[in-house]
Amino acid sequence: MLNTERRDQYVQLMASRGWDHLLLYGHAWRKDYFRSLVNFSFFGPHAAATLSKSGELSILASHPWDTENLKPIDADITWNGNFNSALKTLARPNTAIAGMELMEARFVEHFPSPTSATLAIEELRRFKTPEEIETARRAAHLADIGYQHFVDTAKVGMAEYELAAEVEGFLKTRGVEHNFMLIGSGGTEVYGMKPPTDRRFQKGDSITTELSPQVDGYYAQICRTLILGEPSENQRRSFEVFREAQQAAEDFLKPGVNIMDVARVQNDIFRREGFGEYTTSKYTRVRGHNLGLHPDENPYVLEDVDCSVGKGMVLIAHPNTYLPLAGYMVFGDTLVVTETGCERLGKSEKKLFWKEA
């Protein structure tokens, strides 16, 4: 539960920055700063882990059951339903806070001259330990089998939310903690993915999904497109652009390259095919992003993001966007940066999936 490698890194960081205390804050949606040190999925609304410069740990939870579950950790553990007032007692001078921006403003106001440790902690977390990479590999395997279940289960007449429920049940049964999932279905009228609706699948639909199973805290992601019925010429042609763009990123990714170029090599494929305008924010969000204890970590793979790639980064390259050929389409895989390049953690086939309808 306690990531001792991170603890040692954080203590070194505190020494180098002159911080007396480091507080790692989490709330129900963003548990990642807290979990980078104390890998427990608390279920109360808030939790904070405070590390002293000598490495002593104290934890404040907001639910009594969280406290009981955290007992195996060697730390001073307390809980208080009134997290705001309890946090006041932790508000010591010279405290740096990771996740400060996410905290309720009234929480931060307790701290005299608080310093944000968010970026510094993010930069450390960006590079995964060998153990973290193995966990991401397990998550990628579950993404693979989860997607295969998605393909096997989808059929004409089924509602989007019914398919999501089937996949959710499948993944949870196999030990997945959470699963971030978006879905879209239809044709050229579809501009993106969203939570599942009650729309029922029709023959010829393109069903897009982003599956992101979380295993022991760590997310992997897969993006694939499934056609119900034999793909049309336009669907096949569109997919080829996505396949080539994603492959370009995978071929390019290695230590020392810049994230902006990982985006550029993908976008160049779209530009070459005359689809440059569909790489802009009007039609797409990002060309990928880092993965870890949050399913959408920095850096975002965009042409205006300046960030050097290093060994141990786990990210997804996904050139997901709208194209007029066949509507919104997605394609992407989780990649880990190695000494000389990158390794695809998932094993799903790199193809446009389709099934008889």
Partner: protein
């Protein structure tokens, strides 16, 4: 994370319901001489914006602006590509993109001639957003939640929570006996599938064999007399429920009078968060543990209650 069916069924929540809620907001604003109320929302803290506009940002932040005069506006961190979906789940027609929320809020204020606005629970805004808004062109005035947000006095809110409770109860009644001997993950998967097919928007499921506090599934075999605690969200309405398999297995229950080992856990269900410990005058969940000293096992039970005119009523 929300990945169940998020929808707006107008037979359950007719548009007039939101109009009535807006009337209350407008009255409070007029009393305080404020031209509008800003309500923050994100993936987890969506209860209040949901109450006024049925909108839940599934991945991002949003600010709902409820004016005294004119139509409400939604400032939305999501891409305009999702607006068609947004407009299918909310009565709000004016949806605008917002990266840094301070600028678009300033633009809306300038359009309508506002120099100040009310902010619902201003101290609970995320720190970065609070800093940005305070650095903007509009003065922010705190409006406490209690002034405008009364879900427990609202028939539609009560009805929605009743549906959520019925859904959770039916699933636990049927699935609990079948869980004995299963690995907890398997049981959780079965519950997730069933409840999401029934329309649950989100779920948090905790389990215990009675020798620990309830916690997330972690590969343990469920024994006779195990307990489950479930938080279920149905279209923005959370309920909590705890049930033990022991009640179907009477020989597991202590023969003498059972002890209550721990203080009951009280959870508030009307606040900004889906659930949090504390006392709530409207909707509350109470979890009680029966403890058998002989076997050193606890058995958990609990339910969501509504405080109505006749006192507390289990939903």
């Amino acid at each position: 994370m929300k990945r169940g069916l998020i929808t707006w069924d107008k037979t359950e929540l007719p548009p007039e319901v939101f109009q009535r809620r807006l009337v209350v907001v407008r009255r409070v604003l007029a009393e305080r001489q404020l031209p509008a109320l800003v309500v923050y929302s994100d993936l987890w803290r969506s209860n209040e914006a949901r109450f006024f506009a049925n909108y839940m940002p599934y991945f991002n932040r949003a600010l709902l602006i409820l004016p005294v005069e004119g139509m409400p506006t939604l400032l939305c961190g999501l891409s305009p590509r999702t607006y068609r979906w947004i407009q299918s789940v909310t009565p709000i027609e004016d949806v605008r993109p917002a990266g840094n929320f301070a600028k678009p809020l300033g633009e809306v204020a300038a359009e309508r001639g506002w120099t100040k606005v009310g902010v619902l629970n201003a101290g609970q805004l995320p720190y970065d957003l609070s800093q940005a808004l305070h650095g903007g062109t509009v003065e922010l005035v705190n409006v406490e939640s209690e002034a405008v947000f009364h879900p427990a006095n609202d028939d539609h809110e009560i009805a929605m929570r009743r549906k959520a409770a019925a859904m959770a109860r039916a699933a636990l009644d049927e699935e609990l006996p079948a869980g004995v001997g299963k690995i907890d993950h398997e049981f959780v998967g079965q519950l997730e599938r069933r409840l999401r097919l029934a329309g649950a928007e989100d779920l948090v499921i905790l389990l215990t064999n009675g020798d620990t506090a309830p916690g997330p599934a972690h590969g343990k075999k469920l024994q006779e007399g195990y307990s489950v605690s479930i938080a279920l969200e149905y279209r923005g309405h959370w309920v909590r429920m705890s049930m033990t398999e022991a009640f179907r297995n009477p020989e597991l229950i202590p023969s003498g009078p059972p002890d209550i080992l721990n203080e009951p856990v009280h959870e508030a269900l009307s606040g900004s968060y889906p659930y949090e410990c504390g006392h709530d005058e409207g909707f509350s969940a109470n979890h009680q543990e029966l403890y058998d000293h002989e076997t050193e096992r606890g058995f958990l039970m609990g339910d969501t209650s509504w405080h109505g005119p006749k006192g507390w009523e289990v939903l």
